[in-house]
């Protein structure tokens, strides 16, 4: 019945379009009377009425009679007719069908962006409410400043500092890897590479961005981590088999294309006239890049880094596989650490009852994580806005 309902509404809309258009076209007289809007706009306006009326009564019909009922498609057809009829009747020589139809389109566009915004707000509030429930059993002070994380222990403790430290440690390693690699390859691509080389290199780098993180994760756990462990022990360090370094390195590789691709676009957007001005003063290419191009591109590069950082902070799969679950509070990259995202994943995997502090703590972690990336994105946005007008 559902398919029939949709098809009938579309059919009614097509009929309404045709009827509205023909009706409007018929109003034109040979002598001089002209329509304000083209006949097709009268048709579109009538069709929009049919769509809205049809959808409204179809939903009402489904609610009253049930979606499987024979009456639902009937209600849809009826609704379409009721919706289209007054609009059909309104068309006259000076009726502004074009303006009215465009207003309907505008409302549609607003509604679409509204859905995205409302979804975000909805997620924030659902997480926020669960977080508040969690804080009824565990005090926010203990959560935010406690240095011991053991949600399944007896007694359970929910100090989130080790998770934050682990997240930051891995993020710092990732940025330390991806920052120079990404930025330098961007400079190479934008300033030194020939156009042919660039059109080849850029897509190849972007393939790296397309590797699913779960693949990168087992690459980290099965290839990189043993490698680090082996070479570390050969040099006399004690290395955990799941180390922050392994996860950070692979996560760094994951965000290299993000940084290089964005920075490359930004460096390319620096006007050629600035480079010419610098060359004309007798500056070399590297002086021009260091002193003119990069400073001009700096705000964009900073925001590329910020995006990369929030990507790294939110990344889960690689750290689940490569960094481990032990909530150690350490700055040693060779030790096993865990991150906020890993803990959320492990807390909610499998069957859970949603009233224990253990499960609810995932929401608190999620909320903190969300807040963290929100602040980062906000900072990035502000930096870009502040310096956007610098060159023009």
């Amino acid at each position: 019945m559902f398919v029939w309902t949709v098809l009938l509404i579309v059919l009614m809309a097509v009929i309404a379009y045709w009827a509205g258009r023909t009706h409007a076209a018929g109003l034109v007289t040979a002598g001089g009377a002209r329509l304000h809007s083209l006949p097709s706009y009268h048709g579109l306006f009538t069709a929009a009425g049919a769509m809205i009326g049809g959808l409204a009564l179809a939903i009402a019909g489904a609610l009253v009679f049930g979606a499987q009922s024979f009456f639902t498609p009937v209600a849809a057809v009826l609704g379409a007719a009721i919706g289209a009829a007054p609009l059909y009747a309104r068309s006259s020589l000076d009726f502004r069908a074009r303006n009215n139809f465009e207003r309907i389109v505008l409302v549609l566009l607003i509604a679409c962006s509204g859905v995205a915004i409302l979804t975000t707000i909805g997620i924030v509030f659902s997480v926020l409410f669960e977080t508040l429930v969690f804080f009824r059993s565990v005090s926010p002070i203990e959560f935010l400043f406690g240095t011991h994380w053991s949600p399944t222990g007896t007694p359970a403790s929910f100090g989130f500092i080790p998770l934050l430290a682990g997240t930051l440690l891995i993020t710092v390693i990732a940025i330390a890897v991806a920052g120079p690699l990404g930025l330098f390859s961007a400079i190479f691509m934008a300033e030194y590479a020939s156009p042919r080389l660039r059109t080849f290199l850029k897509p190849v780098l972007e393939i790296l961005a397309g590797i699913p993180t779960v693949v990168l994760g087992f690459f980290a756990a099965l290839t990189v981590a043993p490698l680090i462990r082996g070479s570390g022990e050969a040099m006399g360090f004690s290395v955990a088999s799941e180390s922050a370094l392994a996860a950070g390195l692979v996560m760094g590789m994951m965000i290299v294309p993000l940084i290089s691709s964005l920075s490359d676009d930004i460096i390319n957007a620096v006007p050629q006239t600035l480079r010419d001005g610098s060359y004309a003063m007798g500056a070399t290419k590297s002086e021009t890049i260091k002193k003119v191009v990069l400073p001009a591109a700096l705000p964009g590069i900073v925001s590329a880094f910020m995006l990369a950082i929030s990507r790294a902070v939110g990344e889960t799969m690689i750290v689940v596989m490569a960094a481990g679950l032990a909530a150690n509070l350490t700055a040693n990259p060779l030790a096993a650490v865990t991150t906020i995202t890993v803990q959320i994943a492990t807390l909610l995997v499998g069957d859970q009852e949603f009233d224990s502090p253990k499960t609810l703590s995932a929401f608190a972690l999620g909320f903190v994580l969300f807040f963290f990336t929100l602040v980062l994105n906000y900072i990035a946005l502000r930096i870009v806005q502040k310096y956007r007008e610098q060159y023009d």
């Binding site: 006007p271 600035l274 001005g277 610098s278 004309a280 003063m281 007798g282 500056a283 007008e389 060159y391």
Partner: protein
């Protein structure tokens, strides 16, 4: 005039009043410039004297900007561009493989059509060149160079209280004078100007023209312009380009009153172009 005799008719100033003070600063012989397959300049020869303003005029696409950009090798930044023939500045072939293009551009400065100050402070814009060429050993010297350059460009009084403000915040005319100050700061001997007033209003244009006239005392200036009035106002010598060739080069007053070539006359009287 002891210019070497060539198989080509050499276009030199007919009545070189401007030559009284010295010899030719820039000389070119049989220059051809290609963009890929397309020839932009054909067989151009010219002698440009020092301490004078030479204006290049001609319809769009006639090669005047292209030739201007050859004099400090700015065309090197265009990968498909190829230059043959001799261009000499002070008798040194600037397309010699041994020449350092960095040194050349310090000697032959350039001001562009659209003001292009760096997104830095006014001070840093002017200090940029002296810094990369190591012209100042300490802050005091650098300050002096910046002030002197801004004074020469007639901008000092307007900006002396806001040297740390961004150069991009100035008006268009001020930005262009900042770019001239920036070019002067590295002590060039030749200043190339590629339609320096085309983005400016008449008042700012008049200001720049006055400035060009003052700078003539110390520099060899070559200016590309689309305004024949401007060429007549600021230059002593005028070169008329058409379809990639140099049609005529001579005393500005003569060019505008009694041009030797029919094409020049047609152009300056507005019959084509």
């Amino acid at each position: 005039m002891n210019a070497p005799v060539h198989h080509q008719t050499l276009v030199t100033p007919a009545h070189p009043k401007a030559l009284a003070s010295g010899q030719f600063k820039v000389t070119a012989r049989d220059v051809d410039v290609y963009y890929g397959e397309k020839q932009a300049i054909k067989d151009l020869s010219i002698d440009i004297p020092d301490r004078s303003v030479s204006a290049f005029i001609g319809p769009s696409g006639c090669g005047k900007s292209t030739f201007l950009r050859c004099i400090n090798r700015m065309n090197d930044t265009i990968p498909t561009c190829r230059v043959t023939g001799d261009i000499k500045v002070d008798g040194n072939d600037i397309y010699d493989p041994n020449i350092d293009v960095v040194q050349l551009r310090a000697k032959v400065g350039m001001v562009f059509q659209k003001p292009n100050p760096f997104p830095k402070s006014i001070y840093e814009n002017v200090a940029y060149g002296p810094r990369i060429h190591g012209l100042a050993t300490n802050k005091t010297e650098l300050d002096e160079i910046v002030e002197k350059s801004l004074r020469k460009a007639g901008l000092w009084e307007e900006v002396k209280d806001r040297l740390q403000h961004p150069g991009t915040g100035l008006s268009g005319g001020q930005q262009q004078r900042l770019c001239i100050a920036r070019a002067i700061a590295v002590n060039p001997e030749v200043i190339l100007m590629d339609e320096p007033c085309s983005a400016l209003d008449p008042i700012a244009t008049a200001r720049i023209e006055e400035l060009i006239d003052e700078l003539r005392q110390n520099y060899c200036i070559v200016i590309v312009t689309h305004s024949m009035q401007q060429a007549a106002r600021v230059s002593q010598l005028t070169a008329f380009f058409h379809l990639g060739t140099l049609v005529e080069y001579g005393d500005t007053d003569e060019m505008f009153t009694a041009p030797q070539e029919k094409r020049t006359q047609d152009y300056i009287t507005g019959r084509f172009g």
